[in-house]
């Protein structure tokens, strides 16, 4: 599956990251998030709005909003701690070591400049090379993301391009300085399903060619099933479950993971006698809700006394880990 020996050092490591709202001690956005990713690997971070997946990616990029603060934990790139709260220092890290692709390509591009200039800007920000050489690299990058006629297209303004083409430009920008990690935050959510497939195939091909590690942040479990090597499921600011994609889909242990899988439409597995989806009752708790136990307990069909009283720590069975006192039995139907 992944061409890295188990002993290889991870390229990116997030350890017990905790993020909260400044001057609001009760408001905890990330309670404890830890994960590792190796070169050439795709890790999917899955969860619903408010679970903290986008805050995790902003923290790694050193792009935390002013209103929030780090309360603990660290982010390490090839073993060295990243100064994620130092915006100036992080400018060197962004694009050169860690690239990022956002959900809305239009919002990531400046409408007033030709797209080629914007890719050029990224290169010139990080590398001191002659303009002609940098421009040649822009054209090469646009060709590598399969944009037609790159020499002409480089002079197009964003509004002239389709959503899929814009996302290719953003991917070209993210990869312009050969980063070793790419964070893709809902990169295909705004795109049609056929374009989504093209963009994901492009990302996987670039990964095969460059060995870039991809952190894919998504709510789309179908996308995860077919593009990720490993999955981390987040709920309300903590890691509910992580494991190899196959293990997690075939034998989910956290009731939230199971609930997500059951609530996701799958035409091949329709409930007999009519299409009703299995729902998860209730909603995600507020970040300021001081509940003492597991944050999923109020919605959980398996919750017991202990779940409402204390917070479950992570339990590992090999590479498969989950934070639950009363997990779904390992052997599933």
């Amino acid at each position: 599956m992944i061409p890295h020996p188990p002993s290889a050092a991870p390229v990116l490591e997030v350890d017990d990251l905790q993020i909260g709202v400044r001057k609001r001690p009760a408001m905890q956005i990330l309670r404890s998030v830890s994960f590792k990713i190796h070169a050439g690997e795709t890790l999917a971070i899955v969860g619903e709005s408010g679970c903290g997946k986008s805050m995790t990616s902003l923290a790694i990029m050193g792009l935390l909003p002013d209103a929030v603060e780090r309360r603990g934990g660290s982010v390490r790139f090839k073993g060295a701690e990243l100064p994620i709260t130092d915006n100036r220092a992080m400018r060197k890290v962004r694009a050169a070591q860690i690239g990022m692709v956002f959900q809305e390509p239009m919002a990531a591009l400046d409408p007033l400049y030709p797209v080629g200039k914007q890719v050029l800007e990224v290169i010139e920000e990080h590398e001191d090379i002659p303009r002609a050489k940098a421009w040649a690299r822009v054209i090469d990058l646009l060709a590598r993301v399969d944009l037609p006629n790159p020499e002409v297209l480089a002079w197009s303004y964003p509004h002239k391009l389709s959503g899929g083409q814009l996302q290719r430009v953003v991917i070209a920008m993210a990869l312009a300085c050969n980063p070793e990690v790419l964070i893709a935050d809902e990169p295909t959510t705004a795109l049609d399903v056929t374009v989504q497939a093209q963009i994901m195939r492009l990302l996987k091909r670039l990964q095969r060619d460059t060995g870039v590690a991809i952190v894919l942040i998504t709510h789309n479990l179908g996308l995860v099933a077919h593009t990720a090597d490993r999955v981390m499921v987040m709920y309300a600011g903590y890691k509910a479950e992580e494991g190899q994609t196959r293990d997690l889909f075939l034998a989910p242990r956290h009731p939230y993971t199971q609930g997500l899988l059951d609530a996701t439409p799958n035409p091949d597995r329709l409930a007999a006698g009519g299409g009703v989806l299995r729902e998860i009752p209730g909603t995600v708790p507020s970040i300021s809700d001081p509940m003492p136990g597991c944050r999923f307990a109020p919605r959980c069909p398996r919750a017991q006394e202990v779940c409402r009283a204390s917070v479950p720590g992570p339990v590992f069975e090999g590479s498969h880990g989950y934070a639950c006192f009363n997990p779904v039995p390992a052997a599933r139907g």
């Binding site: 619903e48 593009t227 899988l261 439409p265 009703v276």
Partner: protein
């Protein structure tokens, strides 16, 4: 054969955008029987929302017929359309932008009754509260404002507002695409129960074929302003006939690791 609830025949819509004439609906014909859920599926820009707006009388057709229970409603002005509009209601994608933020929820839900002058004020409020309860909102939250509700709850408000008129036809335009999967399931299940209990018919507009497969009776695939394929939902999924449908299904990642990865995702080619 009885008269269909809705019947559309060779409908065309074109309008001017700046200096350009665009033609988003190009000769569409379809029928919706009473009690049926018809899903209209297509990619962005295929004309599906324009079609919905035209059925609702928010957009004038340039040619063709729209019949509601046998009565011609295409191109009627507001006044002439009003008696039909109470029977055709709609739910939109973004429940927040479709709810007036300065009105209390119970006012918003009874507003259609006010417009159509149904019952007295006490009766309207009673029906609004009953409808809130029906869609899973505590009636004593009626004095609150839309911003005090979550996305899923706001969509429940939108549904209550549409159904308080007891319409025959509910047009749902991407009603769950802004919602998380667990909330999406709650809303889809609610719509399914309401249909069963109130004898509704749905025209359900979506880009998500996998979602509509779970509850639609029939699916109409729309591509570049035309319906390219119609059939029972199961048949469209398992045996697609048109090239567009096949391309779409080939690109859909089914959330199942035992299923082969769709060809459109594979790089080993």
């Amino acid at each position: 054969m009885s008269t269909p609830l809705l019947s559309i025949e060779d409908l065309h819509v074109s309008f001017r955008v700046g200096k350009q004439m665009i033609h988003p609906v190009r000769g569409i014909s379809l029928t919706l029987e009473r009690g049926e859920t018809l899903a209209l599926v297509g990619e962005s820009g295929c004309g599906k929302t324009t079609l919905a707006r035209t059925i609702l009388g928010l957009q004038a057709p340039s040619a063709g017929r729209i019949q509601f229970l046998g009565n011609e409603i295409a191109g009627l002005d507001r006044h002439a359309l009003k008696p039909y509009r109470r029977h055709i209601q709609c739910v939109f994608q973004d429940p927040f932008s479709s709810l007036n933020p300065r009105k209390r929820v119970e006012q918003l839900i009874r507003e259609p009754l006010d417009i159509h002058k149904i019952g007295d004020p006490a009766e309207r409020l009673r029906r609004a509260h009953a409808m809130m309860e029906r869609v899973g909102l505590p009636p004593d939250w009626g004095r609150r404002f839309p911003h005090e509700f979550s996305g899923g709850q706001r969509q429940r408000i939108g549904i209550a507002r549409a159904l308080v008129m007891q319409p025959d036809l509910l047009i749902c335009d991407e009603p769950v695409s802004a919602l998380d999967v667990s909330i999406q399931a709650q809303i889809i299940n609610l719509l399914w129960e309401l249909k069963r209990d109130m004898g509704l018919s749905y025209l359900f507009i979506s880009h998500d074929l996998m979602l509509v497969e779970t509850f639609a009776d029939r699916v109409a695939m729309m591509y570049k302003g035309e319906i390219v394929e119609t059939g029972p939902a199961r048949a469209v999924w398992s045996n697609p006939q048109h090239d567009f449908t096949r391309r779409m299904i080939d690109a859909i990642p089914v959330p199942d690791v035992t299923r082969p990865t769709p060809a459109a995702f594979r790089i080993d080619r």
